[in-house]
């Protein structure tokens, strides 16, 4: 069984470590915040200028002056701080953020990523994605393994305009978990009930399959 979006977020949450500063992209990555292990201290950064972002406000307590990078109303936790956009990207480029999770349209077996532009379609812009992928030391991409047409999104080469080169370290899809290694996508874990064969058939990029690939534990 392929993972649900919630399960993908749950799996990524296992990459969190105590004391991490984390930037979560829009979409599935945002859900990761719901699965921080109890007792673990993790601080969420939002690139529009927050450290210590809290959950959505209670109804009626929304503050138009307090939003996240997805433009959603949020709250602040004790110990939070607010700063301007240049300081925010100073900390991103300065590699102070220990983990960045973001979605993608395509990833290659050398860690290239494309997630901002589809030629011929309306281009909304890269937002902070190019800064994040060019700077972060620890980037996890979270995406469906194949597109709606069933074509692999784990490729030898991106077909779409790039967001960054040789930057992705790990990929979590609905089918499995992969490290980007010099030899390509190293299959670390399978989604429960998903076979190595299915993953092989849906992966266009170079795939390294160890002799034993455990099922992921959620």
């Amino acid at each position: 069984m392929a993972l649900t979006k919630e399960q993908m977020a749950q799996r990524i949450a296992r990459e969190l470590k105590d004391g991490y500063y984390v930037n979560l992209g829009i979409g599935i990555p945002t859900l990761v915040a719901n699965y921080v292990p109890k007792g673990m201290n993790v601080v969420f950064q939002s690139e529009n200028g927050i450290l210590g972002m809290g959950p959505f406000p209670y109804e009626g307590e929304e503050d138009a002056d307090l939003i996240n990078a997805g433009k959603q109303t949020v709250t602040l936790l004790p110990g939070s701080s607010i700063f301007d956009s240049s300081t925010s990207f100073a900390m991103i480029r300065g590699q102070q953020v220990q983990l960045t999770v973001l979605g993608a349209m395509e990833v290659t077996d050398t860690g290239d990523i494309a997630n901002w532009k589809i030629p011929g379609k309306m281009v909304k812009g890269m937002g902070g994605a190019m800064d994040l992928v060019a700077s972060a030391e620890n980037i996890i991409v979270c995406m469906m393994h194949a597109n709606k047409a069933g074509e692999s999104k784990l490729l030898k080469q991106c077909t779409l305009p790039l967001t960054g080169v040789k930057c992705v370290k790990k990929v979590v899809t609905d089918l499995g978990v992969f490290d980007i290694t010099p030899d390509g996508f190293l299959l670390l874990e399978r989604a429960p009930g998903v076979t190595v064969d299915e993953i092989r058939s849906k992966t266009e990029g170079r795939l390294v399959i160890p002799s034993n690939v455990p099922e992921m534990m959620l």
Binding site: G49, P57, E62, Q72, I82, S85, M122, K124, G125, D131
Partner: protein, 232 residues
């Protein structure tokens, strides 16, 4: 030192067709609502607007798109705006997309007298095409130039007649850097206070960067994505 002007219309004195403007805000948060409304009244055309986003159809910079006053947008993300999409696809509107951190740093550089700097963002992508690249400590970087504007329009929470500004929460965003980079910087505030009421240690934008300041009345502060959780 008194930089207070009566209202937004007085504050925009001197803005002409084809000028380059910086406009603060992230999404609809911290945008200079009153200055944008005054720009519509002023009717200037052919504007180049540097702003992280482009507003929504009927608010923020979207208002200036409706009236076709913008010739070119320089932004990092321009979704959520049907009129924008129409003008862009039809070629009426020119759009330059810049990585958000690069945009922020280019504005700061304009204000800080730094004509160019190296950033890793966009290396190996179309953003770096035609730009100088260079390796430092084994990593590749792209040379980016400063951005400046004829006018910078920013929004703060509180301000005084010296032009000192304090922002509230994430309404700060691009406003401080843009305030630095405007040849003339216009600040609109929710509250005008007496000099000395703002603690010198807590001022976000020192008054030297601000040329004109006015109090806006009745801020709408529209929320783009109202997200809440239920009380237990």
């Amino acid at each position: 030192m008194n930089k207070i002007v009566a209202n937004a219309d007085a504050a925009l004195e001197g803005i002409q067709d084809d000028m380059t403007l910086m406009v603060g805000g992230f999404g609809l948060c911290g945008i200079p609502e009153k200055s944008i409304a005054a720009l519509v009244r002023r009717g200037v055309k052919g504007l180049t607007c540097i702003s992280n986003n482009a507003g929504v159809d009927d608010f923020g910079l979207g208002l200036l798109l409706q009236t076709r006053q913008i010739r070119k947008m320089i932004s990092s993300y321009v979704g959520e705006n049907a009129e924008f999409e129409r003008q862009m696809l039809s070629g009426e509107l020119e759009v330059e997309l810049i990585p958000q951190g690069t945009l922020a740093e280019r504005c700061r550089a304009g204000g800080a007298g730094v004509p160019a700097f190296f950033t890793p963002a966009g290396y190996g992508t179309e953003v770096a095409e035609g730009k100088e690249t260079r390796e430092f400590n084994g990593k590749m970087y792209v040379l980016e130039n400063w951005l400046k504007a004829d006018f910078a329009l920013v929004k703060a929470w509180k301000g005084d007649r010296f032009g000192n500004l304090v922002y509230k929460r994430t309404a700060r965003n691009f406003n401080p850097m843009m305030a630095m980079a405007g040849k003339i910087t216009v600040a609109e505030v929710e509250e005008l206070v007496e000099p000395g009421e703002l603690d010198p240690d807590e001022i976000h934008t020192p008054g030297i960067f601000v040329n004109r300041i006015f109090k806006g009345e009745g801020y709408e502060k529209r929320i783009e994505q109202r997200t809440t959780r239920k009380r237990n």
